[in-house]
């Protein structure tokens, strides 16, 4: 079960929008692949090309060895022949049908699922699996946000799709319902084992759900790969910045020790110890990326251990997860409410960076 899609599509300038070119090569296996990027990056266009609602100018779409689209040989399957489960923003359940009728519509649209009895059985199984049994007679307007999402997911699964496409499925849901839907989605992915392509511009969602990530910006993939490879090893500082989870500091490599697997770095006037960076040389200048969540903050005055920077505090804001501290050089750290009490009143604080989490990006 895999998707291999090479897509090139040019959109002419219209009204006040600039011309746009989508040029990506998407490869996805069974599991959740998240397209992450700002709005207007071309994420929805990718889904529409896969589902058959947009026709690429060039390229080829292969899903499980079935050709959906090929510009060279003019193959372009209609959306209804592609068997993609497409979940739209706001789910698009038919408002004039009940939940059961929505599922029935899907079942009756595919001649492959022949026999009324088979269809009924399939629908009942899905209603059961998604805890929709008691809601089967209700219209979408009588459902809560989470229930609608479950119903939409169940409806796409009626026909056993070869590919699931989700366009910001939890937009507008509160945190609790989001969690619930993630749970349902993960469980579903474990069962159906098809590629799932999910669009989001929410980092949290990307982190929670993704097996693989494609970072989309301005019609291109800036980086793609497994979740950890993308999040732990951003290809450049711009990507690291767009992920929004890193402290990015200018650094110079002063020493490299492959035998011990360590390095020494100069950051401002401080010396830090880091892991060995293969492919880099002593004297290389670049940036270090350190996840903001992994940085610890201590009050000044104590013994200065290794990997500590003394930085001036420039501001702090409260957030549900604790206090976010803003230092000079755009360094950010989060700390708990109780730890913050011990730090209060100091203009300068000690910021400690764990050596193993330092990631060096060349210029």
């Amino acid at each position: 079960m895999s998707v291999d899609a090479r897509l090139i599509k040019r959109l002419r300038a219209m009204g006040d929008s600039d011309p746009f070119e989508l040029n990506v090569h998407l490869r996805a296996e069974a599991g959740i692949t998240v397209l992450f990027g700002p709005s207007g990056a071309g994420k929805s266009l990718i889904l529409n090309c896969l589902a058959g609602f947009a026709r690429p100018d060039e390229g080829r779409i292969l899903v499980n060895d079935r050709l959906f689209f090929d510009a060279a040989t003019h193959v372009h399957l209609l959306p209804r022949d592609r068997c993609c489960g497409y979940i739209f923003q706001d789910h698009a359940l038919f408002p004039h049908m009940t939940v059961r009728e929505n599922l029935w519509f899907a079942a009756a649209s595919r001649p492959a699922l022949n026999g009324r009895l088979n269809r009924h059985r399939r629908i009942n199984e899905l209603l059961e699996a998604f805890e929709l049994n008691e809601l089967a007679g209700r219209k979408p307007i009588q459902l809560s946000g989470g229930q609608k999402q479950r119903a939409a997911l169940a409806r796409t699964l009626v026909n056993e799709p070869s590919l699931l496409l989700l366009d910001e499925p939890v937009r507008g849901l509160d945190a609790r319902l989001r969690e619930g839907f993630y749970e349902v989605l993960r469980r579903t992915c474990g069962q159906v084992r098809v590629p799932v392509i999910l669009i989001t511009h929410d980092l949290e969602e990307c982190f929670q759900l993704a097996d693989a990530v494609c970072l989309v910006e301005n019609g291109r993939f800036t980086q793609s790969g497994s979740r950890d490879s993308v999040f732990k090893r951003p290809a450049n500082t711009e990507i690291a910045r767009s992920l929004g989870i890193y402290n990015i500091l200018p650094a110079e490599i002063e020493a490299l020790d492959p035998s011990r697997g360590t390095s020494r770095l100069r950051v401002f006037e401080f010396e830090l110890e880091g892991p060995y960076f293969p492919g880099h040389l002593i004297g290389d200048r670049g940036f270090i990326c350190v996840p903001s969540s992994e940085v610890t903050v201590k009050p000044p005055g104590g013994p200065l251990t290794a990997n500590c920077l003394v930085l001036r505090l420039s501001g702090q804001t409260g957030s549900p997860r604790g206090v976010r501290l803003q230092f000079e050089h755009d360094v950010v750290a989060t700390t708990t409410e109780s730890d913050y009490k011990a730090l209060k009143g100091n203009h300068e604080l000690v910021v400690e960076i764990p050596p193993s989490l330092i990631y060096f990006v060349g210029k």
Binding site: A51, F53, R80
Partner: protein, 228 residues
């Protein structure tokens, strides 16, 4: 009290003409409206302009065209006469054609707008679930647009009742055969029968109002969006 002997034939004829014309406009017009709202093809703007043309041309011009097209000398007139055994012009069927010309442009333009307001995501969802375009139209688009379309059907019927210019050009003014309400009113005024004209005018107005009232009610109900 003066008992007024009113010949009600024009009323029945007008109702019959309007009903048939509305049915034709609904089927043909909805198909054209779907084409305009959902498809992109060469000559779409030309088709759009042709559909709008009857709104701006004087009825005499339209009537003249129809006389030429449907006259006994034209190929169409010939075929029609061969099929039905008599010419189209100066029959009540011609009044149906006139009523259609009168109501179709407005219906098609407005129906295209109504069909466009159906959230495309419903239609896309249906198609990616495997539904054909035909099934999507009948099961999704049409049910979601029916309020708007039925209000337009009422408007279309009301408008079909009121055609005068084209009707008198191609159906003529034959009492008991092709004389519709509006033509009968003209006739009554011309012959100085003020009381008959008054009765008929009141009937036409009341009928139109009775149709437009529910139409306004139906069109006021807004359609649901994808999030509803």
């Amino acid at each position: 009290m003066l008992a007024l002997a009113v010949d009600w034939f024009p009323l029945w004829l007008s109702l019959r003409v309007a009903a048939i014309a509305t049915i034709c406009v609904l089927t043909l017009g909805t198909a054209l409206a779907y084409l305009l709202s959902h498809k992109s093809f060469r000559g779409k703007h030309l088709l759009d302009s042709l559909i709008t043309l009857p709104l701006v041309l004087p009825p005499t011009v339209l009537g003249y065209y129809l006389l030429v097209i449907a006259g006994r000398a034209s190929p169409f007139g010939h075929i029609y006469e061969g099929l039905f055994g008599r010419p189209l012009v100066f029959t009540w069927q011609a009044a149906v054609v006139a009523a259609m010309i009168h109501s179709a442009p407005i219906y098609i333009k407005a129906a295209a707008a109504v069909l466009e307001t159906v959230d495309y995501r419903f239609e896309w969802a249906a198609q990616s679930l495997g539904a054909s375009e035909w099934r999507t139209f009948w099961r999704v688009t049409l049910p979601l647009a029916w309020r708007g379309l039925s209000s337009l059907a009422a408007l279309s019927f009301a408008r079909s009742l009121g055609d005068f210019g084209v009707t008198i050009m191609i159906a003529g003014n034959i009492p008991g055969q092709t004389q519709t309400l509006s033509v009968a009113i003209y006739d009554a005024v011309e012959s100085g029968d003020g009381s008959l004209a008054r009765v008929l005018v009141v009937v036409v107005s009341a009928l139109a109002l009775a149709l437009l009232w529910p139409a306004a009610y139906l069109s006021r109900k807004s359609r649901p969006a994808a999030s509803a």
